[in-house]
């Protein structure tokens, strides 16, 4: 069952032609640069943009000939598209009313969803008074109030302050997990894609260039874009203090030395996420000397060449992907099985601490 979509839309000189499927209970992240056609895919599925060719099947039923309001689709617009002259509560109740609920049950449903998704937002507040994060929460509540069979989220974190992102990401993750139908998330943020989605669909110039789990795409990026965007090293673990200005991120696969974030209380913190760009990882033939606080010894597992660059996967603890030039690959004789050292500076590890920290990516 789930969603089966074949979408062909021409807009000016841009041709969008994609075919993909999403299972019930699966989250697919549609990832691509601005202008790649991500939002158009959502709009076509929702019926806001007519299909030139193709089909959309939801739960085994063709829905592409149905009217926009009859498709059973929940689309959360990028900025929320909340009605500015209605209160937060009326916005959410609107969805239930549009579905046919009476006023009383519609309000009750709105209150229940708001208490669950936006407990800190005053139900009588107007959308223009809300922060970006609050707007997204209300938008999500409104979409869920219409009881959709398919959930489409368009860049839910794009209009949100960096400091509010980790918390909203957790809300999104719970909401996605609680939704039993297929769900599609449009994003250009690799952290968002990799932490929220079961599978990635990469979109470039209106075409799908790669589909796979986050691990598959990270390990085998099919294009330069995939490598640049999704190919970050991602870690999750407990951050512990380790001397002046430094900390250790303990993950199940190994430890990383990191710079202690300014302003963060010096105590052990769990559920900390960290990323290191592959280009920031240096490979050495011998044990490196210098200022790098992280140096790991391991064997090369794989070398993937894309253009003039190569992505080298090493079985260090934690496992890493480094990006080097093809010149370095030849000079160092990098091939599966070769022994190398991989290093990166503590300050190159970007931390995301739940609740407090700047979210840099």
């Amino acid at each position: 069952m789930g969603l089966d979509a074949a979408v062909r839309v021409t807009r000016g000189t841009h041709v969008l032609d994609v075919t993909f499927a999403v299972d019930d209970g699966e989250t697919v992240a549609l990832v691509g640069r601005n202008g790649a056609g991500k939002t158009t895919v959502l709009e076509a599925i929702a019926g806001l943009v007519p299909l030139e060719a193709g089909h959309i099947e939801l739960g085994g039923r063709r829905i592409d000939a149905l009217d926009v309001g009859q498709r059973g689709i929940g689309l959360a617009f990028q900025d929320g598209a909340l009605f500015p002259r209605m209160s937060v509560r009326e916005n959410v109740a609107f969805a239930a009313r549009a579905r046919g609920d009476r006023v009383g049950p519609a309000r009750a449903r709105a209150d229940r969803l708001l208490a669950q998704l936006a407990p800190t937002v005053a139900p009588a507040a107007r959308p223009p008074q809300l922060s970006g994060g609050e707007r997204q929460r209300v938008s999500l509540a409104r979409v869920l109030a219409s009881e959709p069979r398919l959930l489409l989220l368009d860049e839910p974190l794009a209009a949100v302050d960096a400091s509010a992102r980790p918390e909203l990401r957790a809300v999104l993750r719970d909401a996605l997990a609680a939704f039993s139908g297929p769900r599609i998330l449009v994003t250009h943020d690799p952290v968002e894609a990799m932490t929220l989605a079961d599978r990635l669909v990469l979109l470039e110039d209106g075409r799908i260039t790669q589909t796979g789990t986050p691990a598959e795409v990270r390990n085998h990026p099919a294009t330069r874009y995939a490598a640049d965007l999704v190919g970050v090293n991602l870690f999750e673990g407990t951050l512990e203090p380790a001397g002046p200005g430094a900390g250790t991120l303990r993950t199940d696969e190994g430890d990383l030395t990191v710079a202690w974030p300014d302003g963060l209380e010096v105590v052990s913190t769990s559920n900390v996420r960290a990323t290191v760009a592959p280009a920031e990882i240096t490979l050495h033939a011998a044990s490196p000397e210098g200022s790098s606080r992280n140096a790991f010894h391991g064997k090369v597992l794989e070398v993937a060449v894309t253009g003039s660059r190569a992505r080298v996967r090493v079985d260090t603890a934690p496992p890493l992907v480094a990006e080097v030039t093809t010149g370095s690959v030849e000079r160092m004789g990098l091939a599966p099985g070769a022994e190398v050292w991989a290093s990166c500076k503590a300050v190159e590890v970007r931390l995301m601490v739940p609740g407090s920290e700047p979210d840099t990516l």
């Binding site: 806001l48 926009v68 617009f77 598209a81 009605f83 002259r85 549009a98 579905r99 219409s146």
Partner: protein, 260 residues
């Protein structure tokens, strides 16, 4: 530092301002303050004032009821001849009112294209009736509602309607709960302008509906008639319209004049 204005510009500006202000000042200067109450209490004036109020309000309601849906269609639907229709709809704004009246006679008069049928089938005669005065006023004021409302609808981000549609709301429900509340300021501005225009309507009314005291003689028509016999009375009635117009301008200054 403010630079001095060139003299010719300053002179032209002063003359221009005086030209616009002088007639109003003259009305005040020549007003028969002593018998103001008598004039307004007279039968003709009272009937004209009441009729003007009725006709202009009825015309405003009709203009909104017909003009807003028309504006919606013009703003949100694409069809062949849309730009032609838009031009025709606003034509009454630039059309000489007398021509509008002649057109209305040709269409709705007793021998008119539709009027003849109305007369034969239902015995309805619009000419020389209050209904006719309302129709004449609606004809000239509805385009103002259409213009203001269409501008409001076009200025509204279509995403709000899309969001409502995806949530399952019918177009009618979306219009009522989302579009109309969000464009209320423009709709109100259009309605007030239409009302002011209907209140001042003269040419189309006198041509199509005639000048019958108590039935079609609104204040502008009464002023015109009184001018032949009682200049002071005409001035007094005119001042009433000036006061109403100024009040409208003051109430609408935010919308029409961009504030300040």
């Amino acid at each position: 530092m403010r630079r001095r204005l060139p003299l010719p510009i300053l002179v032209a500006a002063i003359i221009g301002a005086a030209f616009v202000v002088l007639p109003v000042v003259a009305l005040v200067a020549r007003a028969p303050w002593g018998r103001f109450g008598d004039v307004l209490a007279g039968d003709g004036a009272r009937a004209a004032l009441r009729l003007s109020l009725e006709v202009s309000l009825a015309a405003t309601v009709l203009s909104v009821l017909l003009g807003v849906p028309l504006a919606w269609v013009l703003a949100r639907r694409e069809f062949r001849g849309r730009s032609v229709l838009r031009a025709l709809v606003v034509l009454p704004i630039v059309l000489p009112p007398v021509v509008a009246g002649v057109g209305l006679l040709a269409a709705l008069g007793r021998q008119g294209v539709v009027g003849g049928w109305l007369d034969r089938a239902f015995g309805i005669q619009l000419t020389f009736s209050t209904s006719g005065a309302i129709i004449a006023a609606t004809f000239v004021s509805m385009p103002l509602v259409v213009l203001a409302a269409e501008a409001g609808f076009r200025g509204l981000d279509p995403r709000f309607e899309q969001a409502a549609g995806v949530l399952g709301a019918s177009p009618a429900y979306t219009l009522r709960r989302v579009v109309l509340p969000m464009t209320a300021p423009q709709l109100a501005a259009g309605a007030v302008l239409a009302w002011a225009r209907a209140l001042g309507e003269f040419g189309a009314t006198i041509t199509f509906a005639g000048n019958l005291q108590g039935r079609t003689q609104t204040v502008p028509l009464a002023v015109f008639q009184q001018l032949q016999t009682d200049r002071g009375g005409a001035v007094a009635l005119s001042l009433v319209l000036v006061v109403i117009s100024v009040a409208v301008l003051v109430a609408m200054r935010g919308h029409i004049m961009g504030g300040r």
